[in-house]
């Protein structure tokens, strides 16, 4: 239920940052501002103007922080309610104290996503937009942000509308033969029906294939680095991170636990997991590390299998290949500056093979590109032209539409027209659920504009 009380929350990510923003939304926003914020200039808060001043605790008279404040009067605000934003210094302690002060003015702490929910309920944004905004907030990388922006502008809606029109056209043809048996329409034009359905089907299939891409951009991908001890996994990690995160020694088995870091490859958010080298060992700690590494394999989106080019293909390498069966794997051949002794037993099982020198950084850029290519089919992370399905709801709608169309095709030879119409209607309904449209009158419009009907 939507209660019109005043809510507040910290709007910047947790942790220490340059500034921290506390957002207040609701009828009491202005009152809160006037209570705790003292502008340097006279005249109080003016809508849509930043003012500089101090945040004070009236009860104690204590000055908590210097801050900027902006007040946005309804309806010209994100939630279409009165909104106050306090931009203070980003130390977590300060932000916490300011929030506590705001809440002491009879304001409730907002639920997660409540600002966006209010924006939606107040008609500021529609459902698809609301979902996209949640994505913008949660997006971890540039590419995901662009996708979210694109979707909020309705690019996805345009493609889905295209599917809808094709389905409408097919349904209109089917319905015309059902409702006008005496109207001299000739035989059922199956070919024309199939053309329209086929077109819809193709678009749906295309959109569904972009789903994976959309998910990857929003959630990022996890990339697991495995290899036998001393193949150079940790050196590779440090190279990819551009910092000395992992301890690198020449002693095999240095990395015992899993090291996890998030990095941005040209717009793609990548969670890198460095693991203990895989080998037979009696060291209990190392054994535990190895079994943890093996456990991670099924969860990873991609595995980087690191091999030492200067040593021969070993039993340990085979052990690793066995553990990776069926996983998408990029082979990374390290130490390619040394004398080459390594030979792959089976080249075809790898999605790609990249030669690098982890110590010098040679081949690292190529490896980054190769990783991106595994997820983004266009090979670039420029998402401006990309319409990707990034929401499970959209995907579900299209999957269910596709299911209906499969039933349509399977029934073509032996089912009556009205049953085929049921399948087309099912598909239309599924697609319409994304954009919120119903079809009946449009079907009739199409019939009357395509056929000469009437007695």
């Amino acid at each position: 239920m939507y209660i019109r009380d005043t809510i507040a929350a910290v709007s910047t990510p947790p942790g220490n940052g340059g500034i921290g923003i506390i957002r207040v939304s609701g009828d009491n926003a202005a009152a809160v501002g006037n209570t705790i914020f003292k502008p340097v200039c006279d005249g109080g808060l003016v809508s849509h103007r930043f003012s500089f001043g101090t945040i004070c605790d009236k009860a104690t008279g204590e000055k908590i922080d210097e801050a900027m404040a902006v007040y946005m009067r309804a309806p010209h605000s994100y939630t279409r309610e009165d909104v106050l934003e306090l931009h203070c210094h980003g130390g977590w302690l300060v932000v916490e104290r300011v929030l506590a002060l705001v809440l002491s003015c009879g304001v409730r702490l907002a639920d997660p996503g409540e600002f966006t929910r209010r924006a939606f309920l107040n008609g500021r944004i529609d459902l698809i937009q609301a979902e996209a905004v949640m994505d913008i907030i949660a997006s971890r990388s540039e590419a995901a942000l662009q996708l979210a922006q694109k979707q909020s502008e309705g690019a996805l809606s345009v493609r889905i509308e295209g599917v809808r029109v094709c389905l409408l056209r097919a349904l209109a043809l089917v319905e015309a033969y059902i409702d006008f048996p005496d109207d001299d329409l000739g035989e059922t034009d199956v070919a024309a029906i199939l053309v329209s359905v086929g077109e819809a089907q193709n678009t749906i299939t295309g959109l569904l294939s972009t789903f994976e891409e959309g998910r990857v951009m929003r959630d990022g991908v996890s990339v697991l680095i495995v290899g036998k001890p001393n193949a150079g996994k940790s050196s590779l990690l440090n190279r990819l991170l551009n910092e000395n995160r992992a301890i690198v020694t020449h002693i095999p088995g240095t990395t015992r636990d899993i090291i996890e870091e998030t990095v941005n490859f040209d717009g793609l958010s990548v969670r890198l997991l460095d693991t203990a080298g895989i080998r037979h060992t009696d060291d209990l700690v190392e054994q535990e590390g190895i079994s943890r590494a093996l456990e991670k394999i099924p969860q990873a989106d991609l595995v980087l299998a690191v091999f030492d080019a200067s040593s021969e293909f070993s039993q340990e390498d085979q052990l690793i290949l066995d553990a990776l069966a069926g996983r998408r794997t990029v082979a990374v051949l390290n130490k390619t500056d040394l004398q080459q002794r390594f030979l792959f037993p089976n080249v075809d099982r790898f999605a790609a093979i990249v030669r690098i020198i982890a110590l010098s950084g040679d081949g690292i850029d190529l490896l980054k590109q190769t990783v991106c290519k595994q997820f983004l089919h266009s090979g670039t992370t420029d998402s401006r032209e990309l319409v990707a399905l990034s929401r499970a709801r959209h995907r579900d709608a299209l999957v269910s539409a596709e299911h209906c169309l499969r039933q349509f095709y399977s029934g073509l030879s032996d089912r009556n027209l009205e049953l085929l119409a049921l399948d087309l209607r099912g598909a239309l309904q599924a697609v319409g659920a994304v954009t919120g449209q119903t079809a009946t009158d449009e079907v009739l419009d199409l019939i009357f504009s395509s056929f000469c009907i009437g007695k």
Binding site: D126, E418, L422
Partner: protein, 628 residues
């Protein structure tokens, strides 16, 4: 103004197809009822085509019959050409159609009305509703008499400010040969109704003696005419054929040469015509690539030479009419007995109605038929019976009857009208029904008979027949579900003759019947009990078995939508105060004032987000306080 000394429960204005059903329903529900019409000789007149039924319309007629209405019985008694359309397609889209002897149809209906208890017939023109302090009290006639009533059903057809066009000539008329109704629509406007203008048309009536039928294709009705009504045992009138003729390029040239004198193309006609029933000049202009248009030459009766060329309606001047009809093969020497014409008339925006057909503007006032923007006898009758029933229910202090979209085509039609309104004359199509597989002609009784009986419109005898049928269907469904093949040699032979092999022993008859290559008649050869099953039971068992998967799917959809359909919106809900709705949505909802969330969701431009907001708003306590 004299006031008549008795007070009616229900007054029905207009005695067309809507008015007749409304008056009969009210009178049969034991209400004191009066039916008033401009011309008592034109009761239930078929002003346009002499036929009843067709796709979706046949469905409506069977529903009216199941509820206890008269239309099906009337066409059965006066039909001269019966045909099942889409016989080769599935059961949901099969439909009955029949042509009537137009005069017999009207005379029989008048007799039924005259014999109806509680029903008075009056001739006269209603010039205004009698409204006192905003309350409806009755009607006032041109003759200076005022009749009082608790409720009024208005079914004015094409009569309100009717204007007839033939070429550039036009004159007031309710229909060719009848006076229009003047005054009533002006009053409705004053009362707050949105009155608009629609147009329809009818072809010329031709003299059969001047037609060479040998040049045309002959179309016979079905060998075994199937009645519409559950109560009809046999079609008794002689059956006669129709003929099919075609226009040609010369016809089209003649039509084009007269367009400058067409009231349609010269902008004289302002009313919107029906999309599905364009005039011949409309077809020629809009489909220039079509080299011929089909027409069925339909007899208007057994004892008349007048025939009706379907699809040839026009408002072109009379000289063009004569020339273009005569350009058609077989009609070279045709004589026109009555010219074709277009007619413009006033209708009232159906958005101003509740689902019960009571107006939202004036309590106890009901609208049915063309006044609501529909076209077609069956559509009119379907609304008529509901308006009559609901007026009677109101007069006796009971809750209204509202048929849902999953229950009847009548429900679909009324919901469409009151939710979406209409821009052109509304006709029923099967594609309008989202639960088409549930709303079949063959199960109209299973859907509605019980309701008709509860209302008192279906007699106990008729209802007993129905419950017996319903029981037999259920029993037979149960029996074939647990009767198994024993694979006796005789059974195997029967199956082999059908080309069916590898049927496992123990297969149920139900399972066998699900196969596309098996019908109930085949079962009768496999099993002695099936042989005894009457035809109407066989039909139901076969349809319900074969389509079970689809039917279940639709029933599931009905169940899912129930939540929205049953969520009622308070009549006086102040949309302006729901700030979270966009201005556009607020305006649409304030204009339509839907009765349920389900209706609201069908209004174009009302997004799922808006429905969510509305649902939340309805749940919040503040609305409960100032609700109904």
């Amino acid at each position: 103004m004299v006031t008549y000394d008795q007070i009616y429960d229900v007054i029905v204005v207009g005695a067309g197809h809507a008015g007749c059903e409304a008056a009969l329903a009210a009178a049969r529900m034991a209400c004191r009822t009066m039916l008033v019409t401009i011309n008592l000789d034109a009761i239930a007149l078929m002003s346009c085509n002499p036929s009843i039924g067709g796709l979706a319309k046949g469905h409506l007629v069977k529903e009216i019959d199941a509820l206890g209405g008269e239309m099906a019985k009337n066409i059965d008694a006066t039909g001269i050409h019966f045909r099942i359309l889409n016989a080769k397609k599935g059961p949901a889209v099969r439909a009955s159609r029949a042509q009537a002897d137009k005069q017999l149809y009207r005379i029989r209906m008048k007799r039924v009305l005259e014999q109806q208890e509680n029903l008075d017939l009056k001739q006269g023109e209603v010039t205004s509703l009698y409204v006192e302090n905003g309350e409806l009290r009755g009607v006032e006639l041109q003759s200076g008499i005022r009749y009082l009533s608790k409720t009024v059903v208005v079914t004015t057809g094409t009569f309100m400010r009717g204007l007839i066009h033939i070429g550039l000539n036009h004159y007031p008329g309710g229909r060719a040969g009848d006076q229009p109704s003047v005054g009533l629509s002006d009053q409705l406007k004053v009362l707050g109704f949105n009155v608009g203008r629609l147009k329809t048309g009818t072809p010329a009536r031709l003299d059969a003696r001047s037609i060479d039928f040998s040049k045309m294709e002959t179309q016979f009705g079905d060998d075994l005419p199937q009645p519409f009504s559950l109560s009809t045992e046999k079609i008794c009138l002689p059956q006669i054929p129709c003929h099919i003729a075609y226009t040609n390029e010369r016809t089209h040239d003649i039509i084009r040469s007269g367009l400058d004198r067409s009231p349609l193309y010269s902008g004289i006609i302002e009313g919107v015509g029906p999309r599905y029933c364009p005039s011949i000049e409309d077809k020629v202009v809009r489909y220039p690539e079509k080299d011929r248009h089909q027409t069925f030459i339909e007899p208007e009766g057994l004892n008349t030479t007048e025939v009706y060329p379907s699809g040839m309606s026009t408002s072109l001047p009379i000289d063009i009419q004569i020339a273009f009809y005569r350009s058609i093969a077989g009609l070279e020497r045709v004589e026109i007995m009555r010219p074709a014409y277009a007619i413009e008339y006033d209708y009232v925006d159906p958005i101003q109605l509740h689902n019960s057909l009571e107006t939202k503007v004036i309590k106890n006032l009901y609208h049915a038929g063309q006044i609501n923007g529909t076209s077609g006898y069956e559509e009119a009758a379907g609304q008529g019976i509901i308006a009559g029933i609901n007026a009677a229910l109101r007069a006796t202090g009971r809750e209204p009857l509202v048929l849902t979209r999953s229950q009847a085509y009548i429900g679909v039609m009324i919901d469409d009208l009151v939710t979406l309104g209409t821009q052109d004359p509304y006709r029923m199509f099967t594609s309008r029904a989202e639960y088409r597989l549930l709303l079949r002609e063959d199960n109209a009784d299973l859907r509605l008979r019980e309701i008709g009986h509860q209302l008192g419109l279906v007699s106990d005898d008729e209802f007993d027949l129905f419950t017996k049928k319903r029981r037999m269907i259920a029993e037979e469904m149960g029996r074939i579900a647990c009767t198994r093949l024993v694979n006796s040699s005789s059974q195997l032979t029967v199956l082999a003759n059908r080309g069916i092999e590898n049927i496992q022993k123990g297969t149920t008859l139900e399972h066998l019947l699900k196969r596309p290559d098996v019908c109930y008649a085949d079962l009768a050869e496999l099993d002695t009990v099936s042989r005894e099953t009457p035809q109407q039971i066989r039909e139901q068992v076969e349809i319900q078995t074969k389509y079970k998967g689809y039917i279940d799917r639709q029933l599931q959809q009905v169940e899912q939508s129930k939540k929205l359909e049953t969520a009622r919106i308070p009549v006086n809900l102040d949309y302006a105060s729901i700030k979270s709705l966009t201005t556009e949505v607020r305006e649409k909802l304030s204009k339509n004032r839907p009765d349920t969330l389900g209706q609201a969701s069908r209004i174009p431009g009302i997004t799922p987000a808006a429905i969510s907001i509305l649902a939340i708003a309805l749940k919040s306590s503040s609305w409960k306080d100032n609700g109904q």
